[in-house]
Amino acid sequence: MMAASSYVSMVNAHYDEFGNPTEEQMALVSIKNHGNAMNNPKAQSPMEITVQDVLNSRIICYPFKMLDCCLYSEASAALILASEEKVKELGVDNPIWITGVGAANTDCFIGNRESMGRLYSNINAAKVAYKMAGLDYDNIKNQIDLAELHDAFSGQEVISYEELGFVPFGEGGPWIENTYEKPGMGPWIDGELPCCPSGGLIGCGHAVGATGIMSTGEAALQLRGDAGKHQVEINHGRAISHSIGGPGAAYAAVIVMENEEGLSKK
């Protein structure tokens, strides 16, 4: 079973249960992330595309089309981690603090899952990470500036909006659709909670193994104000990165990061 058919099973089950994401809503995720990549010089797949371009791209496994899928890629990413003591000793300017970490697993075999349209590892990892950072799952959208999500496939980013607490269950698809071309709203780069401002996996390419580091590094760049042309507005001084792996996308990790300002506001 390919990665695409594994993820598409979850997305189709989500559709059966909630009536979304539709093909058009998934295409909007593709437009957003390929579009965000236009402003990221390190991204592999920058593209200015339309809903129709996505719908007309080659079918991979129903209803995923080629432009709903990330590119499997080869690349590297690195983070420099240090203890609080070391950061102070070295006098590091503008360090980004990891204030919450959560990781969880669910059944590896999709056929064993009671509810195939849910990824319980995602909600469990998110709740643990948010709690460690002193944040509120039910109000997370108003406590962070951006999220770098694991958008290996467009429809799966929509499920992440729900599992990570940005919108109620079943409202992920409508969230991106109803906020299209409405500045200050939704997961768009100029929205209320920009998701994958770097372009994510769909825009940057998916260097399996390095991807989680890339997403975390991108969130750190944003919090330092070093993201260049894809910099988003930082008000809370706080961001999350999210990654998924394993058979049936069973494993999930969520990391909360804060700059000095974010820490001082709590």
Binding site: S5, S9, N12, D16, R58, C61, Y62, N112
Partner: protein
């Protein structure tokens, strides 16, 4: 490499490896599939949960399970139609794949769904399906020994020379 004129000399050759592997304690499923067209699940001796694909230990309560023969009919829990795949199956696209809950089973089996009418409105949740097998000469004790078809197409499929129905 400092020598700018260096050129690697390449020879095209082949490595051939013969090897075997076993299906371990799940072997009975594949042997009975190959010899008798039986679909064997397992039932937990403690909680009674019926696992298909079979598990020798119950994933819920870690108790031993026992073999239990399951019917050849069931329903699609979730599915997709595949248009791009690995080299082993590329000749067969497009085809359906689905997580199928056999009647009497508590978990869903991942298997191919073939149809004369391969459209999302037919290969979808709730669709009743039935297992079709390769003929004895073609069965190897592998998952590709059988597949599912929509129940209303069953007779047409088993009437083909290269396929047969179960018992």
């Amino acid at each position: 490499m400092t020598d700018k004129n260096f050129q690697a000399h390449e020879i095209r050759d082949k490595i051939k490896i013969d090897y075997k592997y076993t299906y371990g304690s799940q072997s009975k499923f594949f042997i009975d599939l190959m010899s008798d067209k039986k679909l064997q699940g397992t039932k937990c001796k403690k909680c009674g949960k019926v696992w298909m694909p079979p598990r020798v230990g119950c994933s819920d309560c870690f108790e031993d399970t026992e073999w239990v023969e399951l019917p050849h009919s069931g329903q699609i829990m979730v599915s997709t139609i595949v248009w791009y795949t690995t080299s082993d199956f590329i000749q067969k696209i497009p085809y359906g794949i689905a997580f199928i809950k056999l009647d009497n089973a508590d978990t869903a089996l991942l298997q191919g769904v073939f149809s004369e009418n391969l459209v999302p409105s037919k290969i979808k949740k709730g669709q009743r399906v039935k297992a079709v097998f390769k003929t004895a000469a073609d069965r190897e004790g592998k998952m590709t020994d059988f597949f599912f078809v929509p129940e209303d197409e069953y007779e047409a499929w088993i009437n083909q020379e290269q396929y047969e129905g179960g018992k």
